[in-house]
């Protein structure tokens, strides 16, 4: 089970590596602000209360832990 988890993970990465390159002039949709691979700027206060009120944090290109008396 654990071995298969590794294999699936590695294979999926390798499969994705064959993605067709998109030229800069073809990125009109991708460059839209709402397509950014990060949380909305207004989610900052929400993330702050999540790290206090919930045990989990991190892995969202934002706060990882530390720097506050939070969980």
């Amino acid at each position: 089970m654990k071995k298969s988890r590794y294999i699936i993970l590695v294979l999926s990465f390798l499969a994705l590596s064959s993605c067709v390159g998109v030229k800069p002039y073809q990125k009109a949709y991708l460059n839209d602000k709402k397509m950014e691979l990060r949380a909305s700027s207004l989610e900052g206060p929400e993330t702050t209360f999540h790290v206090y009120r919930e045990g989990a944090s991190g892995a969202s290109s934002g706060k990882t832990g530390g720097g506050c008396g939070c969980n």
């Binding site: 991708l30 691979l37 700027s41 929400e46 009120r53 045990g55 944090s57 530390g66």
Partner: protein, 398 residues
């Protein structure tokens, strides 16, 4: 845990290897450099009945106003400085209960000020972005200083980004104990908390309308990981009437792994999906899943309804009020560390105009208000904690 750690390392190096030989041919477009200023004001209000200050039962009423200003200043030769500074003013009924003999009825008020100063530099025609940062945070019982670095590598005509960053926070508690436990000498082993994090990210364009990113953090914390004014009551100590101060292990290892997937579904709809798995060695395992659906009514107006689901298992050291044994080495009745599920639902609205919603001039420099955002979130936790959050955002360009 070891397997999760291995996955973390494996996925990063697997892709680093795949793209190691690729040569980017990024376009050398000289962008128009503008100073960006974002003002974000959040207002948060919560209520619940499981305050850790009073041992797991008692009001959790709290409100906070959280203004933040973020300024990004582009400099010559691909350099940028950014400053993020804020002050959270809050009123907390539970903090007032650190001294339960207080009869004023007035809730405790305090302010947390925080800031991050960062510097980034683009190298080799934007193939690399390197950065350093320093941060601080100060409130009535907690002071933190931190520093870190980041590196971002662009590959495959900027269709792939690999990132690595690390931060260290050196924090100090002011040891405020519950009123009735003061004068007994030190009740915790240290007043320091240090956190070390290593973050990896991989972002990939999948096609003209889709892109995704993987994030993972390795976080190690040491020192005082409990809160010195949290009470814990025991079934076998004075009939549950005498508390002790919360005790938790002095080391903690956290490992969150998240994936984000964005799809420009149609000309008026974008689908944003996010999932995170979280593990720590206090026994908490968490799942977070969210969906946001930005609906573009026209070029200027976007409505983004969203929903977020979260669940976590309880830490090994948690028990409700009066259910711990005096024989336990570690104990907490903090419901933030209990097992629960939570739901966030809300709506974000954005009014945007690249030409400017409002144009102005300050000391010969023209500026404009580029966007105006409003966001409302309703938060509901299965232990009956409820919260409302309002946020307002203004983006200026000079």
């Amino acid at each position: 845990m070891r397997h999760l750690f291995m996955i973390h390392i494996l996925w990063f190096f697997a892709f680093a290897n795949v793209y190691a030989q690729e040569k980017s041919s990024s376009y050398d477009v000289e962008e128009f450099k503008e100073i960006k200023t974002d003002i974000i004001i959040g207002y948060y209000q919560q209520d619940g009945g499981h305050s850790a200050v009073t041992g797991g039962k008692g009001t959790e009423e709290l409100s906070a106003t959280m203004p933040t200003v973020i300024v990004n200043v582009p400099l010559k030769n691909g350099q940028e400085i950014s400053l993020n500074i804020g002050a959270d003013a809050y009123t907390s009924a539970s903090s007032d209960n650190i001294n339960i003999n207080t009869v004023s009825g007035a809730s405790r008020k305090d302010t947390r000020v925080h800031g991050v100063l960062s510097y980034d530099k683009e190298l080799e025609e934007k193939e690399w972005i390197l950065g350093v940062n320093g941060s601080f945070s100060n409130e009535w019982d907690y002071f933190s200083s931190g520093f870190g670095f980041s590196a971002l590598k662009m590959l495959n005509q900027q269709n792939t980004q690999l990132g690595i960053s690390s931060n260290i926070y050196l924090d100090n508690w002011a040891l405020i104990y519950p009123f009735e436990l003061r004068g007994q000498g030190p009740l915790v082993h240290t007043d320091k908390r240090n956190s070390y994090s290593l973050s990896l990210s991989w972002a990939q364009v999948l096609n003209r309308r889709m892109q995704m990113a993987l994030f993972s953090d390795l976080v190690y914390q040491e020192g005082l990981l409990s809160t010195p004014y949290h009470r814990v009551y025991f079934s076998d100590l004075d009939n549950g009437n005498t508390p002790r101060v919360e005790q938790l292990p002095s080391h903690k290892f956290k490992l969150p792994i998240g994936v984000r997937f964005n799809y420009f579904t149609s000309d008026w709809l974008i689908t944003r999906l996010y999932y995170r798995y979280y593990y720590d060695d206090f026994g908490i395992k968490g799942h977070t899943a969210s969906v946001t659906l930005p609906l573009k009514v026209n070029e200027k107006n976007t409505f983004s309804p969203f929903y977020r689901f979260y669940s976590q298992s309880a830490t090994t050291y948690f028990a409700p009020k009066g259910e711990h044994s005096i024989l336990d080495k570690y104990y907490t009745s903090d419901y933030d560390l209990s097992g629960f599920t939570s739901h966030n639902i809300g709506l974000e609205y954005e009014l945007k105009n690249i030409e400017g919603l409002l144009n102005y001039k300050i000391i010969k420099r023209k500026g404009r208000l580029e966007s105006f955002k409003l966001r409302y979130t309703y938060y509901s936790r299965s232990d009956e904690l409820k919260a409302h959050l309002f946020a307002l955002g203004l983006s200026f360009r000079n």
